[in-house]
């Protein structure tokens, strides 16, 4: 099954990429864009067929490598 791990800078951690994207959007004329935060999405193809166990495994991978808990938070979604 597929797991999608979304890693985002923790709130409070400076996100210069998000800020730069926000400035670029406003220079393109997009009005009304508030805070922009940039993270990353990591898709995993897992041999595990049980969704609960797949989710637990992906969360362990996120804790140990995919996200740095000092600066990032993560969310795992399982897609069939």
């Amino acid at each position: 099954m597929k797991a999608r791990v979304t890693v985002m800078p923790k709130s409070g951690v400076l996100d210069p990429q998000g800020k730069a994207i926000g400035r670029a959007l406003s220079s393109l004329g997009f009005a009304g864009v508030g805070e922009v935060r940039a993270g990353k999405v990591i898709e995993l193809e897992l041999a595990e067929t049980d969704p609960e166990r797949a989710k637990a495994a992906a969360e362990e991978m996120a804790r140990r490598l995919l996200a740095n808990p000092v600066i990032e938070s993560f969310r795992v979604e399982i897609a069939g």
Binding site: P9, V13, L14, P16, Q17, A20, L65, L66, N68, V70, I71
Partner: protein
């Protein structure tokens, strides 16, 4: 003194470190990222600058999980000396040997210039030959050099005197974007130092000064007396 320099795929300042160490009188051994043990009798392990594993995922993230890092962690745990410069500092933070993290420069620009650093304390194996409060000039070259940690960690680092170097101006004022102007930090036993600027590139008057040499001479002196 016997120093081991770890080379990961993408490390690129290992020869600069070797030159600085040799100039200070150390013997240098090369260590490979796949090694699982360090040579016996090593006093110092150096994690040099560069772009290990192409900076993929996060700077230093993959290197921090390479086989040799378990041996480096054991060396640090038994009081061995460890120096991490630039990418090496990022690796030490990613490995959890030092607290906090290095994130993208606030300007999003890669900073390649000299910077001024204030030596925060001199009773350490890395800084014994500096004067307290001395301001030194060192090159820096990084895209992700902005030190961050939670307030509690920053207070602890300051309270326990674990800030090794701070960015300052010519007049000694604080300057940089990094939290509390931190350029480098120690572990509580002050046997592990991580810093972003490159003292190994300031060891020769012909190439911009030798303010960094005292760090390597201090290390050689410290291992001679211990």
């Amino acid at each position: 003194m016997r120093a081991g320099i770890v080379v990961f795929p993408g490390t690129n300042r290992e020869r600069d470190i070797a030159l600085a160490l040799s100039r200070a009188g150390a013997d240098v051994a090369w260590l490979w990222h796949r090694d699982t043990d360090l040579p016996i009798g090593l006093d110092l392990v150096v994690l040099p600058g560069g772009f290990s594993y192409g900076d993929y995922l996060r700077c230093g993230a993959i290197a921090a999980r390479a086989p040799i890092m378990q041996a480096v962690a054991r060396h640090a745990a038994r009081g061995g000396l460890v120096l991490g410069v630039c990418n090496g500092f990022q690796i030490l933070c990613e490995a959890g040997i030092l607290p906090g993290a290095l994130v993208r420069n606030a300007t999003l620009r890669f900073l390649a210039s000299d910077c001024l650093l204030r030596v925060e304390r001199t009773d350490t194996p890395f800084t014994a030959l500096y004067r307290a409060g001395q301001v030194i000039r060192c090159p820096m070259a990084h895209g992700d050099g902005n030190y961050v940690a939670d307030e509690e960690t920053l207070d602890r680092l300051e309270g326990e005197g674990l800030v090794a170097f701070r960015y300052v101006t010519e007049r000694g004022e604080a300057v940089a974007e990094a939290a509390r102007n931190i350029a480098g930090i120690f572990t509580p036993n002050r046997r592990v130092l991580g810093l972003m600027p490159h003292p190994e590139n300031a060891v020769d008057p012909l190439t911009g000064g030798e303010d960094g040499l005292a760090l390597f001479l201090s290390l050689v002196q410290a291992s001679a007396v211990s």
